[in-house]
Amino acid sequence: MGPSPRDQLSKIETTCESLLYELQMIWNEVGESDAERDKMLLELEQECLEVYRRKVDLANRSRAYLRQAIADVEAELAAICSAMGERPVHLKQSNQNATSLKEELMAINPQLEEMRKRKSARLKQFLQIMEQIRKISSEIHPNGQALPRIVVDESDLSTRKIEEFQRQLEALQTEKDDRLKQVLEHLNTLNALCTVLGVDFKRTVIEVHPSLGEAEGSKIVSNDVIERLASIIHKLRDVKVQRMNKLQDIATTLLELWNLMDTPIEEQQLFQNATSNVAASEHEITEPNSLSADFINFMEAEVLRLEKLKGCKMKELVLKKAAQLEVMRQNTHLVTQGNCELEIAIEAIEAGAIDPSLILEQIEAQISGIKEEAFGRKEILERVEKWMAACEEEAWLEEYNRDENRYSAGRGAHLVLKRAEKARATVQRIPGIVEALCCKVIAWEKERGTEFTYDGVRLLSMLEEYAFVRQEKELEKKRQRDQKKLQSQLIVQQEALFGSKPSPSKPQSAKKLPRTSTGGASRRLSLGAAALQPTKPDLLCSTKTTKRANECTSVSPAKKDLDAGIPVKKLSFNSTNANAFQSDHRKPFAPLTPTNNLPLTTQLIHNIVSEEQNKTPKATPIATPKTPGTVSTPMKMANTPAPCSVAYEEEANIVTKAIEEYSFEERRLAFYLRRQQEDLHFT
């Protein structure tokens, strides 16, 4: 409608007037009384007043409401501002502007609105922060006072407060971060430990807290968790150390066993990772599963296996070592009677009574002992070797000298000759070698206060014996030389006198004499027994025997008065010698017997020689002259001839070896006779 309210108002006023007119008209018509008319008009006026009043009230009310609203707004604003910690700046401003209420309100409302917005934003902020705080707190202290609802103190929404909260949040954040770092660290450590120990990491951490098992996602960082992690880590670290020690022990044992049993390299390399860590410290061992239970079991199993093997091999080892010991003993010539104890030991090992390693230890100890001794004995043993080598050469030389063909020019003859030459030189040196050796041994014995044994015998005794034997040999050689001389003399004699070798009759006579002498001897003996009271018949008997004995010695019938066994030669010999022996001072009383003597002498000496030759095969060799000081116990025998003769023959056999010995007088006699022959030859 186009008309404005003013317009309307004017209309209304017009209308009112019209209406009044009209009313007046009506009344007029109706012919109302003026009292009535006035009453109605009063009523009308009153009613109109009422309406006016109502409208005014309304307007008042509205105005009040507005005022209220403004006040409210202002109050709210103030509240908000105070809450937000800002000054309500604008308030008085509007009053001074004297703007209408509505204007005021209109002005204020947006402010309020703004503030409200701001407040709510702030509130939101707060809420956010507090939510965050809550969250973090709950992460940190899951069982702590959990704020069921975030209650924001709306009275304080100031920035200060929020900053406070911010700070709190930050602090919490930091704490959380720290804890998280810690946890992560722990987890890392744990992870490392678990890999080394072959433990399932995930399972372990989940045990601590399920959240830890997640690769992503937030992790609980509560004290509890951290402590538990720490304790698990500690525990696992202990386990690691334990296992490491165990492993190192096992590895050491393995090394020992390998060494003992000469295990091949390939086998050893299987355990490289363990044996290489033998001396590592705890933090150096990082390889996965290098300390896992399985691995350790594996190693232990290997050790067990090896030990079993060792047990089986122990006997072999003991024997091997024992053999080693034996060889060493032999090399140093320290052979003793320790062998039986070894056998006993081995039996005991087999029976399980003794720990083989004990025996092994003992043997090892003995071996090292022998090594030490060997060192001290080395020099003397070397000298002994030299001595023995020299003796061998000597023996070879003797053999060589006996060899008839030694000068034959065969292959390698010159080498042999050279060797003989060398050998002779060596033989010359032998006394010196022995002498020096003796000195060394004596010094050695003095120094150590014990005997030097060689294969169980005292070396000095050996050397003494050797020297003694050598001396004997020298004497022996001398005797043989002399004997040879005698023999050759006899041959020369025979040849000189008789011109030919008396070979056929020699053996005969030689054989005869021994028989005769033995027989004659026993006869003489029996006679001797009876000769306690010499009677003529006895004497006669003895004489006859003697004569017979004498006669028996002669072989050829032609020589009655000759006792020699050699025929023709004897005769001439005899006659010439008879003169030689007849002295100018011979008294008439003396019977002519000297003629017999010289031939007999020669014969006898010769016979002595051949006797020895014949008897030697039958000889019961007597030992080399006994050491001085022994006296053969006198045999208390019965006074009967028989035992005597037995004894005599026994003695004859026993002393066969002594037949080779000659006194100086006997030798001189031989020379004497030889000279005689020579003189005769030239006459």
Partner: protein, 331 residues
């Protein structure tokens, strides 16, 4: 070649044998000295007068000799005979024979017999007082294990040393078997044996030069007293003096006197030109006859002339010196 020996050796006997001297003995009754030699002779000297009183010949070298009494003696020869001599009359005859050279002869006053040992491995006892002729004199023949090298008498005891180092001890009253059969305690060939005048034992010498003192008593205590010494080089010839000490001589030409009990040498006489072949003390101990004569220990080599020296003996040279603390052991 033969230089004069130092005057300390004593005076030389005139007319010594012309070849090696095998033995010499003083008589028990005078200063008569009987010498046997390889020149086949047996000579009788008056030592103090230095005069040759008689000479007897054998058929071969004479190896030993001994007195019977002052007027008679015996000899053993390589011609197998044992001869008897009566010096006053110059008579001699053959007492008996062996079948090999006779090496030693001794006369036993206790038994009144002559004992001879031979290389025919027998010992023979002879009765010199028996009827003449060798057929009647042999008392007995006793076989030995080996050739006899030496024998010695004391009282009724006879000690025989043979080759092979056997030593037999006999009681002359019972010759059927040896009282003891022993072995020399020395390693080497026995040279000679001499009984101690007190009859407790004998000294054995070996060619090596050692002398062992042995005892008849076989009990342990006595045997422990045995000992041997190395005295002279080769061929120690031992002779026992009145005092129980003994003298030895060897191839080195020295004569030594020893105290056997104390094992000490009492005296050494100056060196003789040749080996000492024999020694003998006169009955009163004033004279010592030394035969300086090569003994063929080195075979047939040129050697000094054979000579006999007579020394006057000082008691001090042969008497054992008393031990300072202990009483001298009885010899």
């Amino acid at each position: 070649m033969s230089g004069a020996p130092p005057s300390g050796s004593g005076r030389e006997l005139a007319n010594p044998p012309t070849d090696g001297i095998s033995n010499l003995r003083f008589s028990n009754h005078s200063d008569h000295l009987l010498v046997s030699s390889w020149d086949k002779s047996v000579r009788l000297y008056d030592a103090s007068a230095n005069v040759l009183k008689g000479e007897f010949m054998h058929g071969g070298p004479v190896l030993d000799c001994c007195f019977h009494d002052d007027s008679s003696g015996f000899s053993a020869s390589a011609d197998f005979t044992v001869r008897r001599y009566v010096f006053s009359s110059g008579k001699e005859d053959i007492l008996g024979r062996h079948v090999a050279p006779v090496r030693c002869v001794e006369y036993s006053y206790a038994a009144g017999q002559v004992v001879t040992g031979s290389w025919d491995k027998t010992l023979k006892c002879w009765d010199p007082g028996g009827a003449n002729g060798p057929e009647h004199t042999l008392v007995g023949t006793y076989p030995q294990p080996e050739r006899v090298y030496s024998l010695s008498l004391v009282g009724h005891r006879l000690v025989v040393a043979t080759a092979g180092r056997h030593v037999n001890v006999y009681d002359l009253r019972n010759m059927s078997q040896p009282e003891q059969r022993r072995e020399s305690s020395l390693k080497c060939q026995t040279k000679c044996v001499r009984c101690y005048p007190n009859g407790t034992g004998f000294a054995l010498s070996s060619v090596e030069g050692r002398v062992a003192m042995e005892f008849f008593d076989l009990s342990e205590a006595s045997q422990s007293k045995k000992y041997g010494y190395l005295l002279n080089l080769f061929q120690a010839v031992a002779v026992l003096t009145l005092y129980g000490t003994f003298a030895t001589g060897g191839c080195d030409g020295y004569v030594n006197v020893w105290d056997g009990n104390h094992k000490k040498r009492l005296y050494q006489y100056s060196k003789y030109p040749s080996s000492i072949a024999a020694l003998s003390f006169s009955k009163d101990g004033r004279l010592l006859a030394v035969a300086s004569s090569y003994t063929f220990e080195e075979g047939d080599i040129p050697h000094e002339q054979d000579a006999i020296y007579l020394r006057n003996i000082n008691e001090v040279e042969v008497r054992p010196k008393p031990k300072a603390i202990h009483a001298a052991a009885p010899l």
